[in-house]
Each structure stands twice: as C-alpha cells, then as structure tokens.
C-alpha cells in the first residue's frame, strides 16, 4: 500500500504542537489499519478527523490517547514518548472521551463529573476542596450545574453528552480528545454539544475529535484531517481542504460544495440519486 507521508506542520496558529504521531503503525490482531502515519495536532485549535467508515479515524484517535499501543512508531506528548510516561501523568495532561460511554444506572451527574478528578487523587487524598471547586466549574461551564443531583440515565442524550464532557473537563487538561461526541444525537443536540466544544476552544483548549457529519466538521473545526484507508489524504483549514474533488477521492461521494449561507465555511451538498434536478449535477 502506498503511504502518503505528510510533513508535520507547526500549527496554523503558531506555537509548537503538543501531541503528534510519528510514523505510527497500528492494527488489530495481525490486520494493519494504519501504516506509518505522521500527524501533528496544532495547539489551540479544534482539529477534526474525518474519513469514510473503517478508514482508521477512531483508531488514530485511540492511538493518540494511548488507548491503543502502536506496533511501530511513537506518539509524542509534550516532546516525550507517550508510552514511556506514567498513564496517570498522561491523564493529567490529556483528557479523553471515548465513543458512547455508559454510566452505571443511578449514578448522579455530580458523582460522575467528580470521577474526572481521579488522576489528581490518591488512596489517602480522595477528595479535597480543590477537587470540589474544579468539579463545580466543570459543571457550570457545560451548563449542567442544575442537574447535579439527577441520575445520568434520566437525562436526554444531549444533556448526557454534556455531562460526560464535563467529566473530561474536571480532569483539568488543556488537551481534549473526543471520539464521535455527537453519536446518537439528533441535529439540535449535536449542534448544542458542538457549540460547547467551541466554548472549550474559546477558553484556550486544544480539541481533537472524530466526527461523521462532514458539514458539522467543516463548520466547527479550524483544522481538518482527512483520512482514507489508514493514511492521511489531506489536511488543513476546511476552506482549503473541502473540495468536490477531495470528497470524491476520499468518500467516493459526488457532491457540490457551495458557500454556506449562514457561515464563512464551505457547505457540502451531496448529490446521490433521489429527487435531484438533473441540470444541477456536476456530471449531469
């Protein structure tokens, strides 16, 4: 397989990348999913990894968060090989929200968010006033302070996702990695969660996420990483990256890319087969 090596960029916003993959090869039980991939996460931006199903998006995110151990290459966090750091010390610098997490039935919002303090606690020091104020701030920032006493399973999908993000925030890291934070959410709740992601970005955090919806990815990210078959096809600002040619190359999708009537980003209109006026298609 031809592997495309992309020279690592040192951020559109300037400054040095804190998290990067250097020539990582990852697979599951003999099957290689990612082969010798390089990527740098620009600091202070929202980076979104997109690509067709099975292209290795989540695998890349899980590798960056040390959930998967690469068979070759290294993941570098703040200049150090992540696999050589204590997992507890990594947890103090890098927050992670896995795909579709499940809380035990009856666990309250406050108790779930409080769990985010775990890396800062020890057997003897299980709860300090410091922990309490950080948790309080995380609850307030994600707008779930009023729900603190409610069981997580009694909330709507969107509220629940806010609570999980709140837990990740309570971890107190500047670097947040979210694996498909909008899965199972309707469009309104997805927008709600992504607005929260934008708030996190505004407050100076670096966010990396995997999204399925291309238009949401285009609207809410500063940096897109487009993957296909375990390699990076293109990366950069959505305005530069999102083109009709790229969408066809990455997804095999015929689409028109037009100006977003409400935003300053491109808008993708998939063509497909049904109810299309033939004169409007590019290859009609």
């Amino acid at each position: 397989m031809a592997v495309q090596h992309i020279t690592t960029i040192d951020s559109a916003a300037g400054g040095v990348s804190r998290l990067a993959a250097r020539g990582v090869t990852v697979g599951y039980g003999g099957r290689t999913v990612i082969d010798g991939l390089d990527v740098s996460i620009p600091p202070g931006l929202v980076t979104t990894i997109i690509g067709p199903n099975g292209c290795g998006k989540s695998t890349l995110l899980r590798t960056l968060t040390r959930l998967l151990k690469p068979a070759g290459g290294t993941v570098v966090l703040d200049g150090e090989d992540i696999s050589r750091l204590r997992t507890r010390d990594v947890a103090k610098r890098l927050g992670l929200l896995p795909q579709a997490p499940v809380a035990p039935e009856g666990l309250t919002v406050a108790d779930l968010v409080a769990r985010g303090r775990h890396p800062h606690q020890s057997w003897l020091r299980q709860w300090s006033s410091d922990d309490a104020s950080v948790v309080e701030r995380a609850l307030a920032m994600t707008g779930v302070l009023d729900l603190a006493d409610r069981p997580v399973d009694s909330l709507s999908g969107g509220q629940r996702q806010r609570v999980w993000i709140s837990m990740t925030l309570a971890q107190g890291t500047d670097l947040l990695l979210l694996d498909e934070p909008t899965t199972y959410l309707d469009l309104a709740h997805a927008i709600d969660v992504l607005d929260l992601v934008d708030d996190l970005h505004e407050s100076g955090r670096t966010v990396v996420m995997v999204l399925h919806d291309l238009n949401l990815a285009t609207r809410y990210s500063d940096h897109l990483v487009v993957m296909r078959a375990g390699a990076i096809l293109a990366q950069g600002h959505p305005r530069e990256v999102v083109t009709e040619e790229l969408l066809y190359e990455a997804f095999g999708l015929r689409a028109k890319v037009i100006d977003d009537p409400v935003g300053d980003r491109p808008l993708i209109v998939p063509i497909g087969r049904a109810h299309v006026r033939l004169d409007r298609g590019p290859h009609a």
Partner: protein, 353 residues
C-alpha cells in the same frame, strides 16, 4: 475532625490531617448499622443453645471478662461456629461485589465462576470414591483443604481460559458457566454411581453448613479473609473509575487490566476460603451485593456493605436454621430459600424493563 464546607453541587468532603474523602452520611450510616446488626446476631448466635447465656454475659466474655464456665462455652464451643458465619459471610459478600462490579452484571457471582462447582466435585469425589489415594488425600489434607484446592484450581482455570489480552466480563461469565456445568455434571455422575451411605455424607457437604466447626478450620479462613479484605480495600480506590468502562478508566490513568486481575484473583481466593470453611453455601455472594446496593442507595455494589450484608445473611440464616425450626437445617438451605426468590425477583425485574 474538620468537616470542610464545600459548594452545594458536589458531595461535602471530610479532612482528617492528610487524609480526605467524600462524606456520604447515608452510606456511612447504613454501613455502621449493618456492622452493629452483624455483631448483634454474632453475639446472639453465641448466646443461644442448649446452655443459654444472657447477651450481656456473652459480650463481657468476648471482652475478656466473664465467668470461667461461660468462657469455655463461648470461646471453645460456640465461637468457631459464629465466627465462621461472620467470616464466610464477609468473604462471600465481598467476592460477589467484586465479580458483579468487574463483569458489570448483577448475575455474576463466584458460583458462576466455577469455584463452588470445582470445590464440590473434588469433595464429592473424595467422599464417594473409596480407595487408597482418595483416603490418603483426605487423611493428610482434610476434606476442606482438598475442596479448597479443587475450587481454587477451577477458579484459576476459568480465569485463564477467559483471559484474552485482559479479562472481559461476558467472556468470563460464559466460560465460568460452561466450566461450572461440567463440574456439576461430574458431581452428579459421582453421586449417582456411588454407595448410598457416601452419598448422604457428600450431600451434607454440598449444601454448605456451619456445623461442627473447629478453631483450626475457622482460624485459617479468618486470617486469609482478613488479608484479602485489606488488599481489596487498597485496590478499591483504583477500581472506582472502572465502573465507567475500560476506555474511560484508561483515560483517567487507571491500568485497568492490572487492577481487574488483582481484584478477580482476590474474589477467587475469598470464595475459596469461604468454601473451605463452610462448604459451598449458595446465593450469599449473589444476593448480598444487590441488597447492599439497595440499602446503601449506591449505583454500584459497595464493598464494605456487601461484606456486612453477607455476614448478616449467613449468621442470621444459621441462627434461624438452628432455633426457629423444629428440626435443624444446614445453613445452605436457608440462604437458598432467601436467595432463590430474590434471584427470581431480579430476573423478572430485568425482564420487565
């Protein structure tokens, strides 16, 4: 003690010098009450018998005072049985809380993991198969120790069969059930083909009982359980985030494979210690964590309260078995009579959801 006032959204914290923890009055109260109730039943169990001793005199004797006659009855005759009830109950309760938490499944228990099944098969084998080797094993090891070895071997076998780059809850339960089924089939085959007098002895052991406990048997179980409970208490803190799933726990800096391995090993050893002291008492490990969860209003099985509910259930059942009925029953029958319907209740509830 300096109870620090914190913001209203989170639970208040308590600080004692360098030590700080979340203050949950309800859970603390329930745990304390359970401990008091267990101690009371423990004392009652010593007080009641052919030669009744008033409760205050029991407590006085336990504290080192009291009369000579009382001391003999309390310490030498009745204490081993009562203590066995307490120790076995705690071991089964904690063991059940661990397996249910690790598997994230309320129906997981050491019974499912093959420990009791393996111990039963070995015990029945030794009782029913007369002949040189079996008799030699029993005379050198004792039946309990041999059964303990059998339970331990089966538990570890299930554990290693279930291991595939870590332990997965469902895989563990499925393999545990399969191995238990094989063990039960073996036990049944041994019982069917054995001499009828041996069968009666084997059956008595299989039901689980606290009769005729000696200090030797109880002492070993006591120290084993004490050490294991301390280990569990130390690891429990690292286990807390694991209720949220492996990925979340890993993200919070927990080495979950290692924590889970240590805890499951503790669960296997606790259940094995319990079996060695009282035989395979059914349902305590399954029911105790579920009752403790509901009493303490916890979303996950609380370790300490589960152990205490186990102790209360076992000592209480033994007391009922000895006193309330016109004939003496082995304790396993009473715990099963309480545990069986509760299991049905859990299953029906899960069905209706």
């Amino acid at each position: 003690m300096n109870a620090t006032e914190t913001e209203r959204a989170t639970a208040p914290g308590v600080r004692l010098g360098q030590v700080s923890f979340v203050w949950r009055p309800w859970i603390a109260g329930v745990t304390l009450l359970l401990a008091a109730a267990s101690f009371l039943v423990f004392c009652l169990s010593i007080a009641v018998g052919d030669f009744p001793i008033a409760l205050p005199r029991v407590i006085a004797t336990l504290l080192g005072g009291g009369e000579q006659v009382d001391a003999f009855v309390v310490m030498d005759l009745r204490m081993p049985r009562a203590l066995a009830g307490l120790v076995v109950g705690i071991a089964l309760g904690v063991s059940g809380a661990i397996t249910q938490s690790v598997a994230r499944n309320p129906l997981a228990s050491p019974d499912v993991l093959g420990i009791t099944g393996g111990a039963g098969t070995v015990a029945v084998f030794l009782v029913t198969v007369s002949g040189g080797t079996a008799a030699a094993v029993v005379s050198t090891l004792g039946l309990s120790a041999a059964a303990l070895a059998g339970g331990l071997t089966t538990g570890l076998l299930v554990y290693f069969l279930a291991w595939r780059r870590g332990i997965d809850g469902f895989r563990l339960i499925l393999i545990g059930i399969s191995v238990s089924a094989v063990m039960e089939a073996l036990t049944t085959w041994l019982l069917v083909s054995a001499d009828i007098r041996d069968v009666a002895r084997a059956q008595a052991w299989l039901v689980g009982s606290l009769d005729n406990r000696s200090w030797d048997e109880v002492g070993i179980a006591f120290w084993c359980v004490l050490v294991l409970v301390v280990v569990v208490a130390c690891v429990a803190f690292q286990f807390k985030p694991m209720h949220l799933g492996d990925d979340v726990a890993a993200g919070l800096g927990v080495r979950y494979t290692r924590v889970r391995a240590v805890l499951l090993l503790c669960a296997v050893l606790l259940a094995a210690a319990a079996v060695s002291a009282a035989g395979p008492v059914p349902f305590v490990a399954l029911v105790a964590p579920q009752v403790a969860m509901r009493l303490a209003r916890c979303p996950t099985p609380p370790m300490a309260a589960s152990g205490l509910v186990g102790a209360l259930l076992l000592t209480g059942s033994d007391l009922v078995a000895r006193t309330a009925l016109p004939f003496t029953l082995p304790v396993g029958v009473v715990t099963a009579a309480v545990g069986g319907p509760f299991l049905v209740y859990l299953l029906v509830r899960a069905n209706l959801r």
